[in-house]
């Protein structure tokens, strides 16, 4: 892979997705992107359309942080179902690792939090999440070892993925011995900083039957939004993943017990525990023990983040969750190589953005379910 900037990464991903779907760019009449920190445009999706020289009738730059990817899919599915457009290209990329200037990096840090009532106090992004982590420890007795177990599980999956940025196995002790960033979060409780992009093509199930590769079907989608700023959260330990999950399960007519593999947003280790609980995989307060006992590891009851997640695979910012999506597609197509979950039929993907603010859940399947 040559060294590319954020715009070029986005175009590169789009090109690969069109090739996989075996369609030409002229067949794309809907485009969804998210803005880039490194190479921002005032109107990002329009800039990408211009670069590709496509002229869509549905063109959206989505912006809900890590939840962007999956809420965009709900928007795109709605547009397709209502006939606004037929075939949507979703492409998202950024280059946070190599593409940010010092000033841009500072601006990104200072744009987290409420500009008047939070940002002045100097919380780093890990510090905002540490507030959640501490609250979960206080409420349920969750331990630093249990947070660390999330990183250990992710790395076990990443070790089987040649595309993962970090593949060397780590132990709970390694996490606890890594540098403290914002108590109780250590360096290895934090996700990576990466350059990267991914893209998918969405269309109706009927049109997809003409495509050369197996499609994956969207059975359910749901969103939940509870706040933007963490100081305004109604609860620090229960998130709107409860609502986004419930809405997605209801649409799909399925429940947590039906899920074979899950890709959960893992910007920081405590987030995965709250998602496991709020999405109904564990009773409240029990996700720490579940992960520590290997429940999410390769071969576990519920393999989670089989590509390695943002803790070990990569995390380019807003597009971070795109890789959970491409991984879920790979799993359902039985194309996940050494990390294939045996007989995977149903996958759940979940993204959240802000500080546990905007949640989006999708339920995907190998069969159309009709």
């Amino acid at each position: 892979m040559p060294h590319l900037g954020a715009t070029a990464l986005c175009i590169d991903a789009a090109t690969r997705a069109l090739k996989d779907a075996a369609i030409t760019k002229d067949q794309v009449d809907g485009l969804v992107t998210c803005n880039s920190f490194a190479e921002p445009y005032m109107y990002h999706a329009e800039a990408i359309a211009e670069y590709l020289q496509i002229f869509p009738r549905y063109c959206v730059t989505a912006n809900a942080g890590g939840g962007t990817t999956f809420s965009s899919i709900q928007h795109a599915a709605t547009a397709i179902a209502t006939g606004v457009c037929e075939t949507v290209l979703l492409c998202m990329a950024d280059s946070l690792r190599t593409g940010l200037s010092r000033e841009q990096a500072k601006k990104m840090q200072s744009s987290t939090g409420h500009p008047e009532f939070e940002t002045p106090y100097g919380a780093t992004v890990p510090a905002y999440y540490a507030l959640i982590a501490r609250a979960h420890m206080d409420a349920y007795g969750t331990t630093a070892e249990q947070f660390a177990a999330v990183a250990v599980s992710g790395r076990q999956h990443a070790a089987r993925n040649p595309a993962a940025q970090m593949r060397e196995l780590i132990s709970v002790e390694d996490v606890l011995n890594s540098r403290m960033i914002a108590d109780p979060l250590h360096l290895l409780d934090c996700s990576l900083v990466s350059d990267g992009g991914a893209a998918i093509v969405m269309t109706s199930a009927q049109r997809a039957s003409d495509f050369p590769h197996d499609p994956v079907y969207i059975l359910g989608a749901g969103e939940g939004h509870c706040h933007e700023h963490i100081s305004q959260a109604k609860s620090l330990t229960t998130s709107a993943a409860v609502e986004s999950g419930r809405r997605a399960y209801r649409m799909a007519g399925l429940g947590p017990e039906d899920i074979d593999v899950a890709q959960l947003y893992d910007c920081f280790t405590p987030v995965v525990l709250i998602e496991l609980e709020d999405l109904g995989f564990c009773p409240k307060g029990e996700a720490g023990a579940f992960v520590a006992s290997g429940g999410t590891a390769p071969g576990g009851v519920l393999p989670v983040n089989t590509h390695g997640g943002m803790l070990s695979h990569c995390h380019p910012g807003n597009p971070g969750a795109m890789f959970s999506l491409t991984e879920a597609v790979a799993q359902l197509r039985r194309a996940a190589g050494d990390r294939q979950v045996e007989d995977a039929q149903i996958a759940l993907v979940h993204g959240q953005g802000g500080i546990m603010s905007s949640h989006a859940t999708l339920i995907l399947a190998r069969e159309s379910g009709t």
Partner: protein, 142 residues
Amino acid sequence: MSGHNGKFLPVPRPETEGWWENCRNHKLMIQRCSDCGEFQFYPRIICAGCMSGQLEWVESAGRGKVSTYTVCRLPVAEAYASDVPYVVALVRLEEGPVMMSNVVDCDPESVKTGMLVEVAFQKWSETVTIPQFKPVAERTTQ
């Protein structure tokens, strides 16, 4: 905590200028809805409970409890480096609303959830005085 140049200073909006002016005078103001009686923070032009526009400014007692906290071992920007390690916390005021703030004037390792704190204003510039919190002094029994 000397030298606040380069910190992320708030830029007051037309409707919050008065709130920041009160901070300069060491008064921590919150809003109470005249219709439903709810307190709220941050300042809004409507009551987020009942959408009433009838809000009154009330001076908070300035006391509260730490509802969660972290100790920042890495600064968010160079201007915060000399403060490391510094505490960022959510403080629930006695009146009910929650504020983000720093807990200062104590050993960061001594901060705990549930700790009683009171407001301590710190001047960061000619126009910005920031409300932070410090532990409530032990009550002496005499």
